[in-house]
Amino acid sequence: MSARRVAAVARRIVSQFRHDRRSIALLIVAPLVVLSLVGALWGQTQNATPQVAVATDRTPAAIADRLVASTAIHGQKLSFDEAQSRMREGKLDAIVWVEGTTLHVETEGSDPIRNGSTAGAVQRALAEALGSLGSAAPKIELSQLYGGTDYTLLDYLAPVFVAFFAFFFIFLLSAVAFLRERTSGTLERLLATPLRRGELVLGYLIGFSVFALLQAVVIIAFTVFVLKVQYRGNLATIFLVEAVMVVGAVSLGLLISAAARNELQAVQFVPLVLLPQVFLSGFLVSLEQLPSVLRPISYVLPLTYANEALRAVMIKGFALTDPLVLRDLGILALFALVLAIGAVASIRREVA
């Protein structure tokens, strides 16, 4: 293993990027554009007050008055049937009525996120109503172990976006770069020099890690200072998780380039590699909510562990020495090692 030859390959990758300004721009600008969109979309807490009808024909008048008076909801008094038809027209989020000691809440239900916030608002309204009635109101105090009521959806999603962008761009760029190396004849030229295959792969890993970390710095700075995402935990730990994940992403890119014959085919591998990681790595749906059939798949996806580790560090403020973070880092390192060995093996001198 010659450090000089590894450095030569890494330096060449960096030079190629420097000449290819457009790729750098995409690497940095594309995530910021997407994050800005996500920020605008999910950055505000959902505080649209729901439209709620209290069914007067089924609810004691005292309770109905106080529910309608609550600021947590836009309350109005309607008959049950009238309320039903209003909800079908899309003008109501929920109908409330009381039977005996049971409070019924019927929500519109077509939008799960809105559904949840409506239920919460009704709960708050009822607490207010019962409290002002002086009856034995169950005092509801909301608190959270992690995050906080002021956390928006973006705060929870930011860590996984950081991991996803690094993985996606670095995987794609390294796959295409190495494919060009294979198809343009430069790989053959390289293999007819003292350069060893392991040195070539290591040079690629180092060269691409430079850009992955550059991207991570920009993304994290952007989310912290522009989107005001709330992070806890140590930045160095975040970068360490990123770096280990990126080594796996580059190696996977090199591996895929062995299976593709041209750049178009390489791009077609992107959804195959990426979509399972989007759906099954805890990005959109938490692992506990996944159907048991799919769960084994999520355990073999690198992004699953990167997401878990980054969430632990960024939201829960776990330190590098926390067993969960160490375990995830170890698994990511194992992925990186196996994929890198696979990448070396995929470079055969016998290229027909």
């Binding site: 010659s2 060449r12 030229r189 390289l190 007819a192 003292p194 001198r349 290229v351 027909a352």
Partner: protein, 255 residues
């Protein structure tokens, strides 16, 4: 004459006897259904220009890639300066110029040459880059991005990149394909200059008029050497007018 000779690091080494630079004995290589090399035997002396002549698909490139350590022969013995090709490659004794110029188009000439020099462990990088570029008369394009160069210029840069580490054996796979007549003449003048300094050169070609410029020729077809000798010897042996008809006569005699 734009070509200036490339000073060699081994200029003072005298060659006592014409030792074998390449020794191939019954080399065989099969790809699925095709037997690319079917028991090829030849030997190339140190310091000579050896022309590997044959039609497309005769096994020229396969043989050159075996010598460059890119393919492993299925059977037979293959030695470059007495060692296995891969060993000769990793000790910097071989320079391999691929059929198509293998350069990084988005990098400058200087960046390309610096990269290959580093891979070969060249120590006096500045001087070697300058010398190699002067050799192919492109010193003034050192800062140019390769993508902006013409095809002929790229071929010359490709040659310069194989000369950086002062190899003892140059493998040139059809180096003059797509090169204009003037440049081709210059290339050959330069090959001759290198050979005079003791560099062994293996050139593959399917152009017969280039063959006369080689010291010795190997006529290859179907993965075997049909005949070996200087151009004059081969013509005399076949009893024909020129090399082209000699090749055809020798090929038919063998078949």
């Amino acid at each position: 004459m734009p070509w200036r000779s490339l000073p060699s690091r081994r200029a003072n080494i005298t060659h006592v006897s014409p030792a074998a630079a390449v020794e191939a004995t019954d080399v065989r290589k099969r790809f699925a259904q095709i037997e690319a090399l079917a028991g090829l035997s030849l030997s190339i002396h140190e310091g000579e220009i050896y022309g590997l002549l044959g039609p497309n698909g005769s096994g020229k490139t396969t043989f050159i890639r075996c010598l460059g350590g890119l393919l492993r022969p299925d059977a037979g013995r293959l030695a470059v300066f007495g060692v296995a090709p891969r060993v000769a490659v990793s000790t910097g004794r071989i320079g391999y110029m691929t059929q198509a110029p293998a350069l990084y188009a988005e990098l400058t000439v200087d960046e390309n040459l610096r990269f290959f020099a580093a891979l070969q462990g060249v120590t006096d990088v500045e001087r070697r880059i300058e010398q190699s570029l002067r050799t192919v008369d492109l010193l003034d394009r050192r800062r140019s991005v390769v993508a902006t160069l013409s095809g002929g210029m790229r071929t010359r840069i490709s040659l310069a990149s194989t000369l950086l580490h002062d190899p003892r054996l140059l493998l040139l796979d059809e180096p003059t394909v797509g090169v204009d007549p003037v440049l081709r003449r210059d290339f050959w003048a330069h090959f001759r200059g290198l050979a005079e300094k003791g560099v062994t050169i293996l050139v593959s070609s399917h152009v017969m008029d280039e063959a006369a410029r080689c010291d010795r020729l190997g006529l290859i077809r179907g993965g075997v050497v049909l005949a070996e000798g200087s151009a004059n010897e081969l013509v005399a042996r076949a009893g024909t007018e020129d090399l082209e008809s000699a090749f055809l006569a020798l090929a038919e005699a063998k078949a």
